[in-house]
């Protein structure tokens, strides 16, 4: 089920990127797309056992002290951590550019800038 929500978010982000003409809204759409993608990556690692038990966090603790337990795949979680950091970097850079654009044109709307 989670995958459908993730794909909906990705599509929503793409729709926003294609239809919005405001710089800030474009950056927001980019973020929605990235969040959708991150949710999708997380959902890949989820597992359900043969008798319906749900996978637990892949950490050995005093209560979960056997490697035979049903753990979710930890690799997508590591990947998503990296992807989040990269997304934040890109967003920060986009916002810095938005500030420059506003200083140059006095507007956030691409249509009002008088350039291609």
């Amino acid at each position: 089920m989670l995958q459908y929500a993730a794909i909906f978010l990705i599509m929503l982000g793409l729709y926003g990127l294609l239809t919005q003409r405001n710089i800030i809204k474009i950056i927001l759409s980019l973020n929605i797309l990235e969040i959708g993608l991150n949710v999708f990556i997380i959902s890949i690692g989820f597992v359900i056992g043969t008798n319906g038990e749900i996978g637990i966090a892949p950490i050995l603790t005093s209560t979960n002290n056997s490697s035979a337990l049903l753990f979710v795949d930890p690799l997508p979680q590591a990947l998503v951590l990296t992807a989040i950091v990269i997304g934040v970097g890109t967003t920060a850079l986009g916002l810095a550019l938005a500030k420059n654009i506003y200083a140059k044109y006095g507007t956030f709307n691409i249509d009002e800038m008088g350039e291609e």
Partner: protein, 465 residues
Amino acid sequence: MSAIYLIAVPLLAAFISILVKKVSPYLLLLVSAASVVAMYFVDLETIVIGGFTAPYGISLVVDRFSQAGLFAVNVLFFLVVALNINNYKKMSSILLVALAGLNGLLLTGDLFNLFVFLEVSGIAAYLITTTNKKPLATFNYLVAGTVGSSLYLLGLILLYAMFGTLNMADMSQSIADSGVSAAVVSLPFLLMFIGFGVEAKLLPFNSWVKGILGHSNSLSGPMIASVYATAMGLVFGRLLSEVFVFDDKVTLIIAVVVVLSVVAGEAMAYASTKVREILLFSSIAQAALVVLLFVNGFVGWAIMLAIANGVTKFLLFSVINKATEVVGSDEISSLKGLFVNNKIIGVSFTAASLSIIGLPLFVGFIIKMKMLESLFTSTLVLPFGNYFYPAVILLSSIVEGVYFIKLLVSLWYDKENAPVVHYDVLLKYVGVVIALGLIVYGVFQGNVVDFADSLGAIILQGGVF
């Protein structure tokens, strides 16, 4: 010497350069020169990071492919930096990050690690293009690049869910072993193709190129059109030839995309009246040709074409962008007679553009001839038959020839109000060396042919872990 220093040292130097701003330009020069020298001491090997052997850990692959790419990219990077460092001292830290990202892209043997380096070098590229003072164009580049790499990541995750590995060699092995049909994996590979298509400037995804390279300066122009284009072309080629498996229908779509990019690129270049636009549309066509060769498995010549394109575009963009900064316009009419006062630069510029057209005596000729030869004699089933690609390439060569000769004629002949541009001695020297190299390797072609054949043979044997 382990190739990991090619990534680690520039990254460390980037941090140091933020702390000591004053020495950062010298640090950049030193590190980029050291990377070029270090290329001679890098062994051919697969480097295991952190003790996790492939396919579990990240591995860096140094084979002939990545070695050729690293050599070209590091030399070009050093030249661009050496020519521009005095005017763009503030960009030192960013350029160091760019060097680390590009070396990482070429070295990595892991698909997710590739995404990380794609973003690292991408963010550095967005920052380099801010020197154009066109924030809106840079913003468009950022949006296009981010959406592209997000699609790459989506495709990559689908592959991971299907085959449970991220290592490139292991991935292609498990796809082959699992016996799934190419149609099943066409969605992830198409997504990854689109993602890289943005960086490789393929047609529907390259709307950012005009805004960036059309207003580029002497740093961003050569950097994006030559250094980044070479690195991206080669990395895309590694994926296309070692990992991707394409269904017939997807091959058809890709053939249409690539051919349209070549035709549209050459047509737009023909129609342009601005020199930078002519060069950027020509780069689009060349990049599409590189992808065409990689998709159809002519790996050796694709690498040669990517490197030759990088070297020649470096010279053309450096010369034109310097002249544009002095004259203040890049219309052909205002640059008329540029080479009357700069004969040495003029001769090397002419040699580079004639090599791109593919006239005999230049390296471009051998590449184009061998390319056509292998397309004609290919036993593969190519889309639209064996004569379609050669026809497109020959037709586009004619258009290319017409607009480059037109450009050269107007840059050489106009004695009266010729603009006066003073070029660096270094650029003159580099230009002469490049021109001589193009002619020497164009005449004594044995080396080039052997090199390309040996590169092609290595890839056909399959990549190493």
